[in-house]
């Protein structure tokens, strides 16, 4: 897994956002108060409120995904292959719900790694324009 301390790099107030999200997930009251205050000081109250809303949203979405066993589409599986391997996401229990790529497609996915972010954005844009 990626080192916790490296995660927030590149995201403004990443440390404060991470700590606030973690506090909501773990729910020790005093930690929520402390991290909420830090986030408000850094980004303001509207941003803290939006962060709490996003946490709530994904507490819902992850349970829907895990409770219904939905698979990832194969193109996304292939393009995101290297990202999932690097982040250890393939070790999650729910990875069993998606088809296993054959060796050739896994290799292809690795070769496409430098372009993964761009290709995923293009796929999203293509879906939106339909």
């Amino acid at each position: 897994m990626v080192d916790d301390e490296q995660i927030p790099e590149g995201v403004e107030a990443g440390v404060e956002l991470r700590n606030f999200a973690d506090a909501i997930l773990m729910q020790p009251a005093e930690e929520i108060v402390r991290t909420r205050k830090q986030l408000v000081e850094k980004l303001g109250e509207p941003a803290m409120i939006d962060a709490a809303a996003v946490v709530g949203n994904f507490q819902r979405m992850v349970r829907i995904a895990d409770s219904t066993g939905i698979p990832l589409d194969e193109p996304v599986l292939m393009i995101s292959q290297s990202i999932r391997e690097d982040l250890g996401i393939n070790n999650f229990n729910a990875s069993a719900n998606s088809p296993k790529l054959p060796l050739l497609k896994r290799i292809l996915g690795r070769l496409m790694a430098p372009f993964a972010a761009t290709m995923l954005k293009k796929m999203a844009a293509s879906r939106q324009s339909k």
Partner: protein
């Protein structure tokens, strides 16, 4: 009747309490398969799971099935239904297709499961927002009268998930607006489509807590939020990783 979600903090976007009120209203109505009373009971059990010792012991165990006991519960729902609610709330990443298939009976079908899931996750998402802001949990709505309509969409088909799904191309006229007019949808939304109201509930909440469906696929927009898109997706990723969500 009490008006729900009357926030005093002016920094809370108005669309959030509006969405929460709509969600509470959907939960309060008789469903497709569950009565309104049952839906409120399901909502109550999703809250009971938070401090359920049995759920905690299971979550700590190598296999959830290795721990015997009973859940902290306060409703008249059957023990099996309470177990389903608590597992979704506390240990969803270890659910399996075999477990789910073993649950289904004439009285508890795949559609009952999807509707139950929709209620559980709606309450969890709203409650987490309140927990983050240090607000007390909102009182659950009072059940409205009426009978479940027991309507199963005819376009529901297997699409690789544990439950049948209705893709946008297979929608009946009565459900035409289910995906907000989008010609394609993500599996995570279609996963709830066996019960159209569950998709409605999901989209109501996602549109306010995250982004409107049309904005989700456009990485250049933040939907007018106070966080930029990178920050939004960073928080989303953190929550997903914490829950070991592969999708």
């Amino acid at each position: 009747m009490n008006r729900h979600f009357e926030y005093t903090d002016p920094n809370i976007r108005e669309d959030l309490p509006e969405a929460y009120r709509k969600a509470w209203n959907v939960i309060a109505q008789p469903g497709f398969w569950w009565s309104a009373e049952d839906k409120i009971a399901i909502a109550e059990e999703s809250r009971n799971a938070t401090d359920c010792d049995f759920c905690h012991q299971r979550a700590e165990a190598l296999s959830p099935n290795s721990v015997k006991g009973s859940h902290h519960h306060s409703t008249n729902l059957s023990a099996n239904v309470v177990d389903v609610v608590h597992r979704i709330a506390r240990d969803a990443s270890r659910l399996s297709a075999n477990w789910l298939e073993g649950l289904f009976t004439e009285e508890f079908t795949d559609a009952h499961y999807v509707e139950l899931l929709g209620v559980v996750v709606a309450v969890i998402s709203v409650d987490n927002f309140h927990i983050g802001l240090g607000l007390p949990l909102e009182q659950l709505p009072s059940p409205l009268t009426g009978e479940p309509n027991r309507r199963r969409p005819s376009g529901a088909k297997p699409h690789g998930a544990w439950v049948p799904m209705v893709m946008p191309t297979d929608l009946e006229a009565i459900d035409n607006d289910m995906y907000d007019g989008m010609p394609e949808t993500g599996n995570v939304i279609a996963a709830m489509s066996l019960v159209p109201d569950s998709v409605k509930l999901l989209l109501i909440l996602s549109g306010a807590q995250y982004l409107a469906p049309r904005d989700v696929a456009n990485p250049a927009t933040n939907g007018g939020r106070a966080l930029n898109r990178s920050q939004i997706e960073f928080v989303a990723g953190r929550v997903s990783a914490h829950n070991q969500c592969f999708y």
